[in-house]
C-alpha cells in the first residue's frame, strides 16, 4: 500500500506528494487530525504528486496529513441484498448510517453496502469438476421475486476447476460457496459477493443487440409518441418546475421492467423521501410485491459532497449492469445529470483545466457519451437477453436547451422528451412538448410495435402531423383572430387540441389515468383516431367548440375509468353514440 502526505488543499481537491507509484482513479484515504479517514479518488498524477478529489467535507485537513493509497479503484459491492437498499453515492447504506451517526451524516464513516449477517438460501447449480471462468454461474438465491444468480467474480482471471461446492443451504455473502483451482494449481475461495470498479463498464456478454423491444412506461405520450426501447436511452430536459421529477417518479412506479434504480443526483432530499417512504407500501403493478422490492435508491442529494455526486451516477449504472447480467431488464432513472456535469465542472475548475463553454470541461461531451453508452440490450453468454435502459433528466441553465449539457446529451440519446414552461404553466402535464420531442426507436421497434397494431408507426406519424398542423393554425389564428379562420381549419385546430387534452395529457395523480398498458393505449388511441378522422358537422365555431368541449370531458372520464369496467363501458358506448351520430 502506497503512502503520501498532503502538500496542498483547496475546496475538495487535495494535492498529495507520494512515494512509489499510484494508479489513476485509485482510492486513497486522508487521515485527518480528528482521526477520521476521508475517502478520496486520484484524478490526476503529475510526477511525484497527484491530485485527489475528496468525497467528504475537507474541513481541518492540514499540510502534512498522512495519505494511504489503497491500490484499488473505486468499487461497488455486488451480491444479494442490493434490492430495496437506499445508498449514498458511494454505496453507503443511509438507514444504517443513521443508526451509526444519528440525524446528520458524519464524514469518514463507511458501512458495508451488503449486510454481512443476512443469510441467503443458496442453491448450487455448478458441479464439482466443472471448469469455470469469470461470469459463470455457481448457483442462485431468491431475492424478492428473482433468482439472484451467484457469479464467478467478473474479474476472475483465466479458467479454474471447481473442487468443492457448498451444499444447498443458508449462507451469508461472505461465506465460501465454492472452491476452485486455477490452471496454476492455486486455490481460490469464492463467495456470493464481489466488487467491480464503477467507472469501468461491465461487458461480460456475448454481444450487444439493437434495442427492438419497447420499454413500456405507462405514460401515453412517451410509449405511443416518443417511445424508449429496452436497453435504450432517453433524456428529459426542462426548466425548473416543468415536471421532470414528477414524470420520473411516475415512470419509476409503473415502468414494465424488473429492476428500477433511482439515482437522485444532486437534487432535493425531500423528493427522494416520497419514494423512500411510499414504495414499501405501494403494490408493484406486475408482481403483487411492493414497489420497493424491485427498487434501489442511490441518493446523493444537493447538499451532500459534490465528488460523491459525480460517483453516484456510476454507482447506479454499475448496479444496473450487474442485474442485467442475470438476464433482467433494468431501468436507471437519473435526476439530474446536469448536477453530475456540474460536479465535473467544479473539479475541472480546481484542476485549472482549460475550460470549454460555460466553464464545463472540454471532455464533458465524451463523459456524457461514455455514460449513456453503458446502457444496452445484450445477449448473455448463455443465450438469455438482458437490458439496462437509462432515462436522465437535464436541468438546463435558464431553461435554454442550447447549453452544453443538453446538447451533449441530445447527441447521444435515442429519445428526447423536452419539457417546456409553455406547457407546464398551462398545466398540460406531462409537459412533454410534442412539437420538439423525438424518438429514434419506432423504426427499429417496428416489428414489436406491429403486435400492438399492424400500422402503429404510420398511425402515430399521422397523429403527430395533426399536432403540428393544429399548432400552425393556432399561430395564424393568434394573428388574424377566429373570425379570419375557416371552419375547416378551426376544426383541425380543435381536433389537435382534443388529441392533446385526452391523449398526450395524463393525470399523474389519478390512480387509473396515471398508468396505461400498451393494450389500453392502442385501444384508446384507435378511438381518438376515429374522432380525428370523423367529419364533424358543426353549425358554427361556437357549436364546434361546444362539441369538442363535451367530447373532451367524455374521454377524460373514460380515461379515469378502470379498464373494461362498467364505467369504462358506459363512457365507451357514449363515445360510440357520438361516432354514429
Amino acid at each position: 500500500m502506497g503512502m503520501g502526505r498532503v502538500v496542498a488543499a483547496y475546496g475538495n481537491m487535495v494535492t498529495v506528494a507520494f512515494e512509489g507509484s499510484v494508479r489513476q482513479n485509485e482510492v486513497a484515504y486522508i487521515l485527518a487530525a480528528d482521526g477520521s479517514r476521508l475517502k478520496s479518488e486520484v484524478i490526476r498524477v503529475r510526477g511525484e504528486r497527484c491530485n485527489v478529489q475528496v468525497f467528504e467535507d475537507t474541513r481541518d485537513i492540514q499540510v502534512g496529513d498522512q495519505v494511504e493509497f489503497t491500490g484499488n479503484l473505486l468499487v461497488v459491492e455486488l451480491g444479494p441484498g442490493l434490492l430495496t437498499q437506499i445508498y449514498d453515492g458511494l454505496q453507503n447504506p443511509l438507514p444504517k448510517l443513521s443508526q451509526a451517526t444519528g440525524l446528520f451524516l458524519k464524514r469518514g464513516i463507511y458501512i458495508d453496502p451488503l449486510d454481512r449477517e443476512a443469510k441467503w438460501d443458496f442453491t448450487p447449480t455448478a458441479k464439482v469438476g466443472a471448469w469455470i471462468e469469470a461470469g459463470d454461474i455457481l448457483g442462485w438465491v431468491p431475492e424478492g421475486k428473482f433468482q439472484h444468480q451467484i457469479f464467478v467474480p467478473f474479474d476472475f482471471i483465466g479458467r479454474a476447476e471447481i473442487v468443492k461446492m457448498a451444499e444447498k443451504g443458508f449462507y451469508t455473502v461472505a461465506d465460501t460457496v465454492a472452491e476452485v483451482k486455477d490452471e496454476d494449481g492455486k486455490l481460490h475461495k469464492l463467495t456470493m459477493m464481489q466488487v467491480w470498479p464503477i467507472k469501468i463498464p461491465l461487458k461480460l456478454y456475448q454481444e450487444r443487440l439493437l434495442p427492438d423491444q419497447p420499454l413500456v412506461t405507462g405514460c401515453r405520450v412517451i410509449d405511443s409518441f416518443f417511445p424508449v426501447a429496452k436497453g435504450g436511452t432517453a433524456c428529459i430536459p426542462g426548466p425548473f418546475g416543468s415536471g421532470k421529477t414528477v414524470l420520473q417518479q411516475q415512470i419509476s412506479r409503473y415502468a414494465e421492467v424488473d429492476v428500477i434504480i433511482v439515482a437522485a443526483c444532486g437534487e432535493r432530499a425531500g423528493e427522494v423521501v416520497e419514494t423512500l417512504r411510499e414504495f414499501p407500501h405501494l403494490e408493484d403493478p406486475y408482481t403483487g410485491g411492493t414497489l420497493m422490492d424491485r427498487t434501489i435508491i442511490i441518493c446523493n442529494t444537493s447538499s451532500m459532497p459534490v465528488a460523491a455526486r459525480e460517483a453516484s451516477i456510476y454507482t447506479a449504472i454499475t448496479l444496473g449492469e450487474y442485474y442485467r447480467q442475470m438476464g433482467l431488464n433494468v431501468l436507471i432513472l437519473a435526476d439530474s445529470t446536469s448536477r453530475w456535469a456540474q460536479a465535473l465542472r467544479e473539479m475541472s475548475g480546481r484542476l485549472e483545466e482549460i475550460p470549454g463553454e460555460e466553464a464545463f470541461p472540454a471532455y464533458l461531451q465524451s463523459r456524457i457519451a461514455e455514460f449513456y453508452e453503458r446502457a444496452g440490450f445484450v445477449r448473455l453468454k448463455d443465450g438469455r437477453t438482458g437490458s439496462v435502459s437509462v432515462i436522465g433528466t437535464v436541468s438546463p441553465a435558464g431553461g435554454n436547451f442550447e447549453e452544453p449539457v443538453t446538447q451533449g446529451t441530445l447527441a447521444v440519446v435515442g429519445a428526447f422528451l423536452g419539457l417546456t414552461w409553455a406547457r407546464s404553466n398551462a398545466r398540460r402535464f406531462p409537459a412533454i412538448d410534442p412539437l420538439i420531442s423525438w424518438s429514434k426507436y419506432p423504426e427499429q421497434m417496428k416489428e414489436s410495435l406491429a403486435k400492438v397494431d399492424p400500422h402503429w408507426v404510420e398511425i402515430i406519424r399521422a397523429a403527430q402531423k395533426f399536432i403540428h398542423q393544429g399548432s400552425e393554425i393556432k399561430k395564424r389564428m393568434d394573428v388574424v383572430g377566429e373570425e379570419g379562420t375557416s371552419i375547416g381549419d378551426f376544426l383541425i385546430y380543435l381536433k389537435a387540441e382534443f388529441l392533446d387534452s385526452v391523449y398526450l395529457q395524463q393525470n399523474a395523480f389519478d390512480a387509473v389515468d396515471a398508468y396505461n398498458t400498451m393494450e389500453r393505449q392502442a385501444y384508446s388511441f384507435r378511438m381518438v383516431e376515429k374522432i380525428l378522422k370523423k367529419d364533424i358537422a358543426a353549425k358554427d365555431k361556437d357549436d364546434a367548440r361546444d362539441i369538442f368541449f363535451r367530447l373532451t370531458a367524455l374521454f377524460k372520464n373514460w380515461n379515469a375509468s378502470a379498464w373494461q369496467g362498467d364505467e369504462f363501458k358506459r363512457f365507451e358506448s357514449q363515445i360510440n353514440d357520438f361516432l354514429r351520430g
Partner: protein, 432 residues
C-alpha cells in the same frame, strides 16, 4: 497558545496570504492591526502558504499585522439568551447588549441524513390568503420570493414573520439597507414578537465576506433549536446579495466563472443552505422563506434560475401582490384539503381558473374585441378577487378566507357556472 505570525506576504481583494504551519482548512484566524481586529478563514493551503479570506475585508491591513490561528472553524453562539438579540455577520452583538453567555457551535455543519426525512404534512398559517389559500406554506418547505427590486418584499417577509405560527424566527439580513434593518427591528418590537426573534444582520455597508456567513449562522442556530423541538422559521433577505458576494469572492480567487460571472458552484452553495430546511420526526422543524430579487425581472438570470432548481416552488411578487400564476408551492398538495378544510382544493382551483378567464377577458378588451355579458361578469369578479383577497393588506385566517371565496363566487356566479361539485355547493354556497 499558537504562534503569532507577523508577516503577511500578499493582500488582494479580501484575501491575505501568509506562511504558517499546522493550519487546517476552514480554520479561523484573527488578524490584529493597531486599533482593529478582524476574523478570517483559511480557504486554501499550498505548502506553507496559507490563504485566508478576511471577513472584515483587507482595507488597511498591513504586511506586518499580527495573525493568530485559533484552532477551530467559525462558530456561533447558541441558546435561549440569543432570543431578542441582534448580531452582525461575524456574530458580534450590534444591539448594544452584552455578548450572550452561551455554548458555541460550528456553522455549516453536515447534511441531514435523507433516510431520516419524513414527508411534511403540516401547514404553516400566515393569515395571508394568497399564501394560505392559494399556495400554502408547508412545514420544512424552502420557498423564495422572486421580486423585482422596489417591491415590498421585506414588508411581506416581516408580516409572515409576525404572523406565522412559529416558535422562533431567525432573520438573516444580507446587504440590508439601514432603513430596512430599522424597519424589521421596529416591526418585530412593535408587534411584540421580538422576544422570539434572533437577527443576524449584514448591512450593505459591511464587509462583503461577512455577508456569506449570515445564512450559515442563522441556519446553524435554527438547526439546534429545531433539534430541541422548536418550530423555526428562517427568513433570509436578500439571497441575491449573498450570491453576488460569492461572485465577488470567486473572481478575486481567480476562479473561472461559469455564467455571467457567477461561480460554477453557485447551485451547490445555495443548495447547501436551502437544504437545511427539515422536519425532524418527533422533534422540531425549519422552514425557510427567502427573498431573491431578480436582476432586470429576468427569471433566467443565474440567481433566480439556480434558486428555482433548489427550492420547492416560488412566490412572484409583482405590482405589489403575490401573482397567483407564476407562484407555486410544490408542497401544497400535501396539506390542501388534508390539513385544511375539505372544500379548500376545489375552491382554490375554481377561483384561479375563473381569475385566469378574467385576465383573458381583459386582454380581449385591450385588443378591442367585443365584450360579452360573461366577460363583464368575469371582470367584476376579478376586481373583487383582487380587492378582497389579493391585496397584501388582507389579513385573515384561512377559514375566513375560504368563506370569503364562496361569498365572492356567490356574488357573481350561478353555482353551475363555477363547475364546483354539487355536494360542495350544497354545503358551502352562501344562502341568498
Amino acid at each position: 497558545m499558537r504562534e503569532i505570525i507577523t508577516k503577511i506576504d500578499e493582500i488582494t481583494g479580501n484575501i491575505a496570504t501568509l506562511k504558517a504551519a499546522g493550519v487546517g482548512l476552514g480554520e479561523l484566524a484573527l488578524l490584529q492591526s493597531p486599533g482593529r481586529e478582524t476574523l478570517g478563514q483559511v480557504i486554501s493551503l499550498n505548502g506553507d502558504n496559507v490563504t485566508v479570506q478576511v471577513f472584515g475585508g483587507t482595507k488597511g491591513i498591513s504586511t506586518n499585522d499580527k495573525v493568530r490561528f485559533l484552532g477551530h472553524p467559525m462558530m456561533v453562539k447558541y441558546g435561549n439568551a440569543l432570543l431578542g438579540r441582534i448580531f452582525n455577520g461575524s456574530g458580534v452583538p450590534i444591539d448594544g447588549g452584552p455578548e450572550p453567555v452561551e455554548e458555541e457551535i460550528p456553522i455549516g455543519g453536515p447534511s441531514f441524513n435523507p433516510a431520516n426525512r419524513v414527508i411534511p404534512k403540516q401547514m404553516i398559517r400566515t393569515n395571508i390568503p394568497m399564501i394560505d389559500v392559494f399556495n400554502s406554506l408547508v412545514v420544512s418547505q424552502k420557498l423564495p420570493i422572486f421580486s423585482i427590486p422596489g417591491e415590498p418584499y421585506n414588508q411581506l417577509l416581516a408580516r409572515v414573520g409576525m404572523q406565522a405560527e412559529a416558535d422562533i424566527i431567525v432573520l438573516g439580513g444580507m446587504g440590508l439597507k439601514f432603513d430596512d434593518y430599522t424597519f424589521f427591528k421596529r416591526t418585530f418590537e412593535e408587534s411584540g414578537v421580538m422576544n422570539r426573534v434572533i437577527m443576524f444582520i449584514h448591512l450593505a455597508s459591511d464587509p462583503v465576506v461577512e455577508c456569506l456567513l449570515v445564512p450559515d449562522m442563522a441556519l446553524a442556530v435554527a438547526e439546534r433549536f429545531a433539534e430541541s423541538g422548536k418550530r423555526v422559521l428562517v427568513l433570509l433577505t436578500d439571497m441575491t446579495n449573498f450570491s453576488d458576494s460569492l461572485k465577488e469572492i470567486s473572481i478575486s480567487m481567480e476562479q473561472i466563472p461559469s455564467n455571467r460571472g457567477y461561480p460554477g458552484d453557485l447551485y451547490s452553495q445555495l443548495a447547501a443552505r436551502y437544504e437545511k430546511a427539515v422536519d425532524i420526526e418527533g422533534s422540531g422543524d425549519i422552514t425557510i422563506l427567502a427573498v431573491t430579487t431578480m436582476p432586470g425581472d429576468d427569471v433566467t438570470h443565474p440567481i433566480p434560475d439556480n434558486t428555482g432548481y433548489i427550492t420547492e416552488g416560488q412566490f412572484y411578487l409583482r405590482h405589489g401582490v403575490i401573482d397567483p400564476f407564476g407562484s407555486l408551492s410544490r408542497l401544497k398538495q400535501n396539506v390542501v384539503s388534508k390539513a385544511t378544510r375539505r372544500d379548500h382544493n376545489d375552491v382554490m382551483n375554481t377561483m384561479i381558473r375563473l381569475y385566469s378567464d378574467c385576465r383573458e377577458s381583459r386582454n380581449k378588451i385591450a385588443m378591442g374585441f367585443k365584450v360579452s355579458k360573461w366577460d363583464e361578469t368575469l371582470l367584476a369578479y376579478g376586481q373583487d378577487f383582487e380587492r378582497e383577497l389579493m391585496d397584501l393588506n388582507v389579513n385573515m385566517p384561512i377559514e375566513v378566507a375560504l368563506d370569503r371565496c364562496w361569498a365572492i363566487l356567490a356574488r357573481h356566479f350561478e353555482p353551475v357556472q363555477t363547475g364546483l361539485k354539487d355536494e360542495l355547493v350544497k354545503e358551502f354556497w352562501p344562502a341568498q
